[in-house]
Amino acid sequence: MKYKIGLEIHTQLSEAGTKLFCDCDSNYRKYEPNTNVCPVCLGLPGALPVPRRNPLKLALLVSKSFNCEIPEFMVFTRKHYFYPDLPKNYQITQYEKAGGIPVCLKGILKYFDSDHLTWKSVTLRRMNIEEDPGKTEYSGGNILLSEYAYLDYNRSGVPLLEVVTEPEIPTPRDARKAVEYLLLTMEYIGAINPRLEGSFRVDANVSVEGGERVEVKNIGSTLDLEKALKYEIFRQSKIVEEGGKIKRETRHWDSIRGVTKPLRSKETEEEYLYFPDPDIPSIKTEPLLKEALSSNFMTPENFMNRITMYGVSQRIAWSLITVKPAAELFLESVRIGSDPKITARILAIDYKGLLKKSGKNIYEKSNWPNKQILKLLSTLVSNKLYTYDELKYNILPKLLENGNDMNLVLPEKVEPTNLIISVINEEKKAVEDFISGKREALDYLVGKVLKKAKGKAIDPKTIRKMIEITLTKH
């Protein structure tokens, strides 16, 4: 059954430094309740919003990255609704129908489909900047069980960028890839940290052929987005196949149960009394954009082009790009002469794997070796001092242990034949076991050889092969 998917992605510009209209911190998570506030973001009478340059510049860079039509002026509007966590009971946004002008009018979200290693695109309807409300917390965990509700305005006024696509995304998987690419781009620009709790949320709308549009609200991860969409398409298709009708409604994604639930049926047009905010004169975009573009930034697509130019496959390149410090390190070290393919393999696969296994944060640049070390490592292999596997099994783990110390003592190379022979002579029982067909015995023998080599450069795969050959000859 045919269907259409459109998305509204709300991203928090947590890396902007300031809130949208005051100098409080955009990264509000580290503060005690109601300590990251001022008269402006508390909406106190008489306090006035003054647009801060950094959030606007970041939003313009995102717009620029997706080929947006950027209007000459931005105009902020007020959207009114009564809610405890909204201090002024209106939100300052950029609704375009009430005289507002958003930061981006129409653009193209070009994204990388890593399953099929191809670029795809979806049309963007608009992007607009707005302020985040505060937060309500309940003493008993939820509204029904609680005697009290607590209001925390630390988040109030944090800049949000809302990105709206046309309803033309072909599959739930594509929706996920598109959002992941958007977030990655914003991370590269330095606008967001997508790994912060609650740093983005997605509202998705789905309509199957012959049915009305259903909106699924508050999806908090890209994995959930894919799941929610799959579920919703299945649910709607089933109703249509059974002769039922899909009515226009808003649903809520229950990520624990993996189902969508009705939130409010029959969406009445709400009355938000939009009008241009008289406290904020229209803002010229050109000088801001100029200032923003003066600091060079690269999108993931730029990285993809550069990295693959060095002969690295798209698959490995993408694996580098998904971890920004790895992609940056790659280019830095190749620029000073590292071997591209070896460096890519270290960064994208083996060192990344080691970091993950040791529980270190792969998004933290200081957890990675620096470009000089990478150059040295790649030279060891390209000059045939070590095989890649010797590097992988002996040098990389040591490097991690030593905290990426440059004064790494390189392991001595050993000729493994003698070691193997002595192990075979000592471990009669294991040898017999292996010959009688117990494969586990081979692992044991490899282990014994490695133990004898005591930290010298040795490649377990080669050892394994050598033992196997020796014993089969017997």
Binding site: P39, L42, G43, L44, P45, G46, A47, L48, P49, V50, P51, R78, H80, F82, Y83, P84, P87, K88, N89, Y90, A98, A149, L151, E269, E271, L273, Y274, F275, P278, D279, I280, P281
Partner: protein, 472 residues
């Protein structure tokens, strides 16, 4: 007693006037008279004032240059102060002490002013008589059976009975000029953007300015010099170095005077004749085509912005709050019980003006009307200062106007145009009729405050009507 703020300042600087004596005499006067006039909502404690005086003396001793050291200033209670409650004349903000000072308050403190108290106003500045205050009405010191005008009636009255030297009001559609004309004081509505609105509790953001008041144009110039200037905390604030020349011509669009009550008309024409005799060119052939659109345009925009600005008072962040079983109930009750009738009426009309299906015919139409009026005014003030009545009527009796909203709103007909166009306008005494003050308004082009002050100084020399204190 022709004691002006200018002369008092001189005496303080010379050391011939003891600051304590002077300020405490003012406090005594307030204690004696304010229970009848009710110009103030809150007054500083004596201790607070003593501390303040000592601070100013220390600053003087250390050689700090200040523009108004020791002068007594009253401030309208919709301007935020972190040392006195700021209620905006509303029950809903009772006991609210802002955690910050308005920019103008900071400036006055910096320049040595003594802020003695906060003055009464129509609730959220919505009114033209100061009868809509939750803290009781203010009486006109010249005739206590009459209103002082509004919404800055408390500021005007506080000057008129001599309780302070200078005052700050706010002017959204005539709110300092109307009271000035009703109390024989002076009020200047500055060019939009020349005085920071940071800390002014908003009624209609795109129209209003914090506005200085005094008992003479020369005194007014003192406080104007303190409060004007760009402020990065206000995005609508302008950075301007415009210097106006002091050559002036006056023009008079008939529509701006003709509909006034006869004593007002004749007083103004007589004064204009005298001004002309002093060598100022006057052109009587002016026309203002779109005056009839001014009031509906003004009120539509003001109500729409007010509806939005007042949404925040729902009981969650300010001391006053009703109980309710849910947020909805709590906020509805708070707004039902603690907003006054006039405020609720204006909110409702503002909501209507912004609602789907109405916004084009009301709010959008008004913004278009505003552009037409602004263009006409800008054109008119390009070559001359526009003279007019301030109010079409003499100060009304208490209770007389608020019975009929249309009559009440019509009091602002001559003043709202300056707010719609964003241009400066000065109201000052023109004469008296049956012991009731009559004012005249001069409206100039953007940033021509200095020109207005020069003309005003000349006019007060001509009339001799300055530093008038009711009951002296």
């Amino acid at each position: 007693m022709k004691e002006t703020a200018v002369s008092i300042l001189e005496n303080i600087r010379k050391g011939s006037l003891e600051m304590e004596d002077y300020v405490f005499k003012k406090l005594e006067l307030i204690r004696k008279k304010d229970n009848i006039i009710n110009a103030y909502i809150s007054i500083d404690s004596e201790d607070f004032i003593l501390d303040r005086i000592n601070e100013i003396k220390r600053n003087i001793a250390s050689g700090k240059k200040m523009k108004i050291p020791g002068l007594v200033v009253s401030i309208k209670d919709n301007i935020s102060t972190n040392f006195l409650p700021t209620t905006a004349g509303s029950k809903i903000l009772e006991n609210y002490i802002p955690p910050y000072n308005a920019t103008v308050v900071e400036k006055i403190l910096e320049e040595g002013g003594i802020i003695i108290g906060k003055t009464n106003l129509d609730e959220f500045a919505m009114g033209s008589t100061t009868e809509f205050s939750a803290y009781g009405l203010t009486r006109n010191p010249w005739d206590i059976t009459r209103v002082p005008g509004g919404s800055s009636g408390g500021s005007a009255a506080s000057l008129a009975y001599g309780s302070c030297d200078l005052s700050l009001g706010s002017d959204t559609g005539g709110s300092v000029r109307l009271p000035a004309s009703y109390t024989a004081t002076v009020g200047l509505k500055p060019t939009y953007g020349t005085v920071s609105r940071y800390g002014l509790i908003p009624y209609a953001n795109s129209l209003e300015q914090i506005s200085p008041m005094a008992r003479s144009v020369k005194d007014l110039a003192l406080i104007w010099d303190v409060i004007k200037g760009y402020d990065e905390k206000d995005a609508t604030s302008v950075n301007n170095n415009y210097k106006s020349d002091n050559k002036f011509k006056i023009c008079i669009p008939k529509e701006f005077i003709e509909e006034s009550e006869p004593p007002i008309k004749s007083t103004i024409y007589k004064l204009l004749e005298k001004i002309e005799n002093e060598g100022v060119a006057i052109e009587y052939e002016g026309k203002f085509e779109n005056l009839k659109y001014a009031l509906p345009t003004y009120y539509t925009i003001a109500f729409a912005e007010a509806a939005s600005n007042l949404a925040r008072y729902d009981g969650k962040l300010y001391p006053i709050s009703s109980e309710g079983l849910s947020y909805k109930e709590m906020s509805e009750n708070t707004r039902r019980y603690y907003f006054g009738f006039e405020v609720k009426k204006r909110i409702l009309m503002g909501v209507l003006a912004l609602s789907e299906g109405f916004i084009n015919d009301y709010y959008i139409a008004a913004t278009k009307g505003r552009r037409i009026i602004r263009d006409e005014i800008l054109n008119m003030t390009k070559n001359c200062i526009v003279a007019s009545s301030v109010s079409p009527i003499l100060p009304p009796k208490i209770g007389e106007r608020i019975k009929d909203p249309l009559k009440l709103y019509a009091m602002d007909i001559y003043t709202v145009v300056a707010n719609l166009a964003g241009v400066p306008a000065l109201a000052m005494p023109a004469g008296f009729y049956n012991n009731l003050p009559i004012g005249i308004q001069f409206m100039a082009g953007p940033f021509e405050e200095e020109k207005l002050i020069s003309l005003g100084s000349l006019v007060e020399e001509i009339t001799g009507l300055y530093n008038l204190i009711a009951g002296d």
